[in-house]
Amino acid sequence: MNHSELFIVLIAMIGGAIRVSTPFMFVALGETLTEKSGRINLGLEGNLVLGAMVAYAGSYTTGSAWLGVLMAGCSGLVLGAMHGYICKLPKVNDIAVGIAFMSFGTGLAFFFGKPYIQPLAPKLQAIPLGFWSSDPNIAQALQVNPLFFVGIALAIFMWWALANTRWGLIVRMTGDSAASARAMGVSVDLVRLLATAVGGFMAGVGGAFLSLYYPGSWNEGLSSGQGLMAVALVIFARWDPIKCVYAALLFGAAGALGPSLQSIGISQGYYFFNAAPYILTLFIMIASARSKSAAREVPGELSLAK
């Protein structure tokens, strides 16, 4: 691999990180909020797929891609609120409900999404941040979708709000000790319902990115498990919104490795390179979860931690 080829791979990985990371980021942020409140919503894959379908349908029927994004968020909000409400009932396991909602969300999306596979909907426009470069590859890699920045801003806001606001404190308290929250007069179920609903909204917006920007069309194989992977990224990011962004970027960059290595002629062993994101996640997960302090970062009320 000579100098310029290394450069091509590097550009492709930066481009891949920017292009592919956004849905992971939104789902991971939504899941972080939900898990911070003490509940796990494994159904976000369903929110992601339904969000993708609703966004595409919304953009197609209204002609406005941003309205589609909003509708996708609302569809996620409804699914999240349903999950939150059902988990409030006695003796209900949130993980089992989450798995049910994963199938429910994707099934709903496939059922109502049929008529929207063929038509072409208006897509979200990118911001050409690579305008300064005469190299078309750099210019292309730096075509950034506004939702990418919304995701980063959201992460910073969540990080700040969880640490510094009264609402953030309440969410963390219900997540760490439901008993103390009740003692403070906080309705644990209401907080969790809201956290799950808002988390669902974010995952729906992540789905909108898939169908309205990259890869940019609605079909039934669109997500191929990205929502599930993003839920795993939350554990990998130790329930920290900022680390969720890093994790999503890393995952996007690693995903671009396989195709870009083949494009410069390193084509042996592409199955291995295509598996790179998962291998990477596994290793960092093992490394990060081994530390003693890692146990303290898990919200105490999670059924994982109990």
Binding site: I8, I11, A12, G15, G16, R19, V20, F110, K114, I117, Q118, L120, N137, Q140, L210, Y214, P215, G216, S217, N219, E220, G221, L222, S224, Q226, G255, A256, G258, P259, S260, Q262, S263, I264, G265, S267, Q268, G269, Y270, Y271, N274
Partner: protein, 372 residues
């Protein structure tokens, strides 16, 4: 639920048959028992029938058959290559009275089509891949297959005259013989009109993985390819990505022309309706269906998508000439040809339907990429 009803029905059916041993229905040669009743064709698809790809190609053909008087078409989509397909086929037979089952996905064949065919000897089964074995498989089953690489060759002929960088990008799913043959045919087609043309291939490793397909198309364009084509289940994402990057594109399986109003050149398409009409006619006449149909341009089982805005006049002329050649069975693989590791893999001239080509396990010289 479904499984239970089906199995109860089959028990009843077996019981009846045992009681009425020697009765005409079970004693007649296969395929004739229902010859007088209306013709019902049941098609099973592995994905959505409007996926801009493999399934759509079949569904388009079934839509044409719906217009034929006396033919009823039933379809089921998104049927996975598991026991689910056996259940779908059984319910088409038992509940809808299907006389012919068209199983359109590669993984349906073994064991599902073979086992179901043994269980229902009066019903015909045809599977869309050359897997039927005359010695071991039931006589009421069979295969049909088209050599799409001929239409990819035509794509290559046109692409060779449309590329400015002389690099054609190919997004491929898995390195199986039919995919490799399509890649090699694009190369040979392109070289016939542009000796400097090369093909660069990226394997995604899966039949349907939209995000990685988009990444692969982007990587090929970044590497300098200015015509993009593919062999994945649903080429929608690849063609759209090429169009949005300003690259030209050639389609695969079904027509993707509407997705690329500026850069579409032409595309390799199946013409399954030719085969399906043969089946429907034979059923109507009460004749035996052929167990094995293989076809290409010479027997009207392929077509190329109507030229798009990306095709230059010279490219159209050359591609039309190539189609005429293929109709006259002009060979694509004319030896000696080397693979991209330098070994001679084809020594003489191969007929376009030579069974040796079905085992293709190499990329020809001029293709950048590796199958491992």
């Amino acid at each position: 639920m479904n499984k239970m009803t089906v199995s109860r029905r089959s028990i009843l059916k077996t019981g009846l048959k045992a009681g009425a041993a020697g009765l005409a229905a079970s004693a007649l040669p296969f395929g004739l028992a229902r010859a007088q009743s209306p013709i019902t064709l049941g098609a099973v698809y592995v994905g959505p029938r409007d996926d801009f790809g493999w399934n759509q190609a079949h569904a388009v053909a079934m839509d044409i058959l719906k217009q034929v008087p006396g033919v009823t078409v039933i379809e089921e989509e998104n049927v996975p290559e598991t026991d689910a397909v056996a259940q779908s086929m059984e319910s088409m037979i038992n509940l809808d009275g299907a006389n012919l089952i068209l199983a359109t996905s590669f993984g349906y064949y073994k064991p599902f089509v073979v086992e179901t065919a043994k269980k229902y000897p009066d019903v015909q089964f045809r599977h869309a891949a050359p897997l039927w074995n005359a010695d071991t498989d039931p006589k009421n089953a069979g295969s049909y297959f088209c050599y799409l690489n001929q239409a990819h060759y035509v794509d290559g002929v046109a692409a060779g005259l449309c590329t400015k960088s002389n690099k054609i990008g190919f997004v491929a799913a898995k390195p199986i013989p039919s995919v490799l043959s399509n890649i090699n045919s694009v190369l040979l087609g392109a070289k016939s009109t542009n000796p400097d043309a090369t093909v660069q291939v990226i394997f995604t490793g899966e039949w349907s993985l939209p995000v990685r397909e988009a990444e692969a198309a982007n990587a090929l364009i970044d590497a300098g390819c200015d015509v993009i084509t593919c062999h994945v289940d649903s080429p929608k994402v690849v063609i759209q990505t090429a169009e949005s990057r300003g690259a030209k594109s050639c389609g695969h399986n079904a027509s993707q022309a509407p997705l690329a109003p500026n850069g579409f050149i032409t595309g390799a398409e199946y013409k399954w309706e030719t085969i399906y009409k043969i089946y429907a006619d034979d059923l109507a006449k009460g004749e035996e269906l052929p167990n094995f149909i293989a076809g290409g341009y010479h027997n009207d089982m392929l077509r190329n998508t109507a030229y798009g805005a990306g095709a230059t006049p010279e490219a159209m002329k050359a591609a039309d000439a190539a189609i005429e050649g293929l109709k006259a069975k002009k060979p694509i693989y004319v030896g000696p040809l080397k693979d991209n590791k330098g070994n001679v893999v084809i020594e003489g001239t191969m007929d376009n339907y030579d069974p040796v080509l079905d085992g293709m396990n190499y990329l020809l010289e001029g293709v950048q990429g590796s199958i491992t």
